[in-house]
């Protein structure tokens, strides 16, 4: 087997890179529409169709739920319970957003099963999600805490008149979106890379049994990372909302 195969990123049988589909020229810049965009659009279309069908069904809801209504109620109750148990009294305000990103990230992670390249294995997607979380933390902090409290929190281990520790605290605040996005990105990317190596290097031997790896890397790891992302988002936002520590 060719040993230089792992070193060349354009080896034709190992393929886990993002591909451009077509490019647009916007204000003199070349903007590529990639496989990540296509995959996100597919997932969005699925979510929109599911939402419309669920809406139709729930409008004619029966007293004793049947078939599809059972599924909808199961999903909504599970997500409600998850948000409620972490955020407490702030749950009603954020349950819509958290549920949406939960379903979106979960479907992105398991889209590797359908032969798509998971959009969460593109740093652009996860950074965007983490930046939304960062903006929510900052906004809620500014809304629920006074400027004095924020300043005291910024100088945290030292008294507020001695802001020596402030740069460290600012760095740790900026590290939040970076670590959130890199965690999700690296987990999904590692699964994608390992699956690409298995299929690319073993070729004929890789029949049937990689399904076990798919169950671990796509389903298990994807679900765990989805849960972790939503859990950390909820924890950070709840911390920002709670004024009395």
């Amino acid at each position: 087997m060719n040993q230089a195969i792992l070193l060349s990123s354009n080896a034709d049988n190992i393929d886990f890179m993002i591909h451009g589909i077509f490019s647009l020229h916007v204000f003199g810049q070349e903007v590529w529409i990639t496989t990540s965009h296509a995959c996100i659009l597919i997932i969005m279309a699925l979510m929109v169709v599911f939402a419309i069908v669920a809406n139709r069904k729930i409008k004619k809801a029966k007293e004793v739920p049947d078939g599809f209504q059972n599924v909808i109620e199961l999903i909504v109750e599970m997500l409600d319970g998850m948000v409620e148990s972490t955020m407490g009294k702030w749950a009603p305000r954020f349950v819509n957003y958290i549920s949406t990103i939960f379903i979106f990230i979960l479907m992105s992670n398991i889209s590797g099963l359908l032969g798509l390249r998971p959009p969460t294995a593109d740093y652009g997607t996860t950074l965007a999600l983490a930046l939304i979380t960062f903006c929510m933390i900052r906004f809620n902090k500014a809304k629920h805490q006074s400027a004095k409290d924020i300043w005291v929190g910024m100088c945290s281990p030292l008294p507020p008149w001695l802001p020596l520790w402030t740069p460290i605290n600012i760095i740790s605040e900026i590290a939040v979106p970076i670590s959130l996005s890199l965690r999700l990105f690296a987990n999904v990317l590692s699964g994608t890379v390992i699956m690409a190596l298995v299929y690319g290097l073993l070729r004929i031997i890789a029949i049937g049994w990689p399904a076990v790896l798919h169950v671990y890397f796509d389903l298990f790891s994807g679900a765990i990372q989805t849960y972790v992302f939503c859990m950390l988002t909820m924890t950070y936002v709840t911390q920002a909302c709670d004024t009395d520590e």
Partner: protein, 84 residues
């Protein structure tokens, strides 16, 4: 056989990538400790199995992050060639 500067950089990048994934040791030990304590907690209180399980998995997933940073660095060195 001539070794150009480009080849040397590629070779050293590969060695660096191998060194970077040594970062996997830390999360391995940490996850093992978490799993061991989870097992002993289930042994002491089998009723709380589900809750212990989810807490353990959450902690392990967070602890995994540092190892994955090493993986990201290795992949960057191998496939993006940041050094040329």
């Amino acid at each position: 056989m001539d070794i150009s500067g480009q080849d040397l950089i590629r070779a050293c990048s590969a060695i660096g990538a191998g060194l970077a994934v040594i970062a996997g040791i830390g999360p391995g030990i940490g996850q093992g400790i978490a799993a061991g304590h989870g097992a002993s907690a289930v042994g002491r209180n089998p009723g709380a199995r589900g809750q212990i399980m989810s807490t353990m998995l959450l902690g392990q997933a967070v602890a995994e992050t540092t190892g994955l940073y090493g993986l990201v660095v290795a992949l960057l060195l191998l496939f993006v060639h940041p050094l040329g």
